[in-house]
């Protein structure tokens, strides 16, 4: 069985903090004495650019027929609070030099990773380890897709027949795929 454990990096890990803006709102005014008295305060706040990836699930290819390629697609949530709701995504595996490989001791087997910026997909753009896929946008309106769309993107993990046929039988291969999302 090949087991792939997902890691997610939330807003805290990938937030690109904008510099806190200086106060630019209207200056406070006091009221005058009278039958009514009116005063006002200016209020300012800034929200840094943030992204969050969530709803990831582990991937298990169990008792896979080596003659048939294995594919696992899952729907995930990517939230971006930028004006365009844009983001980039970078994947790294747990193999040597962050390769997309599973391992059992010295035994290794490769897998491939694809990403689609829409949910419900079984294929997408192939990712290269540690290389950001840019220009993605999300339909998520809240962090964690707590309201609005339930998921916003698709992660597809595949193992080719060549890879499956290279595996030693009755041997568990495991690894971790880490996904890092940044705002755009």
């Amino acid at each position: 069985m090949a087991m792939l454990q997902m890691k997610r990096f939330g807003a805290a890990g990938v937030a690109a903090l904008l510099a806190c803006s200086s106060f630019a709102a209207q200056a406070a005014t006091d009221g005058t004495m009278g039958a009514t008295s009116q005063g006002s305060v200016g209020i300012s706040a800034s929200v840094p650019s943030r992204v969050q990836i969530s709803k990831l699930t582990d991937v298990a290819f169990a008792r896979q027929d080596p003659g048939t390629a294995a594919s696992n697609a899952q729907n995930v949530c990517v939230f971006s609070n930028t004006a365009t709701k844009g983001y980039n995504i970078k994947a790294t595996g747990s193999g040597s030099s962050s390769a997309f490989t599973l391992a059992n001791g010295s035994l290794t087997v490769p897998y491939t990773v694809q990403w689609a910026q829409t949910t419900g997909q079984t294929s997408g753009t192939s990712l290269t380890t540690n290389v950001a896929l840019t220009g993605q946008t999300s339909l998520a309106t809240t962090p964690g897709c707590s309201s609005g769309v339930a998921t916003s993107a698709s992660l597809v993990v595949q193992m080719s027949t060549t890879a499956l046929q290279s595996m030693q039988s009755s041997t568990n291969y495991t690894g971790t795929l880490t996904l890092l999302v940044g705002p755009e």
Binding site: M33, A35, T36, G42, S46
Partner: protein, 160 residues
């Protein structure tokens, strides 16, 4: 002459009568000591900004009501960044030094407030008499678009 004096006396009387309701003239209020509110960079969790101010009322009970309106649509308590909005909450306490109070709704008076102020700008007696508390919830900030937000909160005091 007697007619002229009579008219003069009548006028004097009328003037005196017009100025007689001294109690109505003294039903004055004043709000002072307000300062701008900077929430800074909202990176998570609720952010509370409280300030002490002077609310003065000259009524016999030193009572007053307070009405708040924001600069959002229909007076909503929202800050703006272009087309994006960030909601905040407003609370009021008739005591100084508080970090929580009664929730205010836009354009709806909070009645039954009383002030300990003895001077209209709190230049003597207590330096401040009330607390204004503004809150941006973490959930609101987390769902807001990135950027700089600003707005204005207007407070109106009335005597009671």
């Amino acid at each position: 002459m007697s007619v002229r004096y009579g008219l003069a006396a009548l006028c004097a009387c009328a003037i005196a009568l017009c100025g007689s309701p001294a109690s109505a003239a003294s039903n004055n209020v004043r709000i002072t000591g307000l300062t701008d509110v900077a929430f800074g960079s909202l990176t998570g969790g609720d952010v509370v900004r409280a300030q002490n101010l002077c609310a003065y009322s000259s009524t016999a009970t030193q009572g007053y009501r307070v009405t708040a309106t924001g600069s959002g649509s229909a007076g909503a308590f929202t800050l703006a960044n272009g087309g994006s909005a960030l909601a905040y909450e407003v609370q009021w306490s008739s005591a100084s030094g508080q970090t929580s109070g009664a929730n205010l709704a836009p354009s709806i008076a909070l009645t039954g407030q009383a002030s300990a102020a003895t001077q209209q700008q709190c230049n003597s007696g207590p330096a401040t008499t009330a607390s204004l508390i503004l809150i941006v919830r973490g959930t609101a900030a987390a769902a807001a678009s990135g950027g700089s937000y600003s707005g204005t909160l207007t407070l109106i005091l009335g005597p009671e």
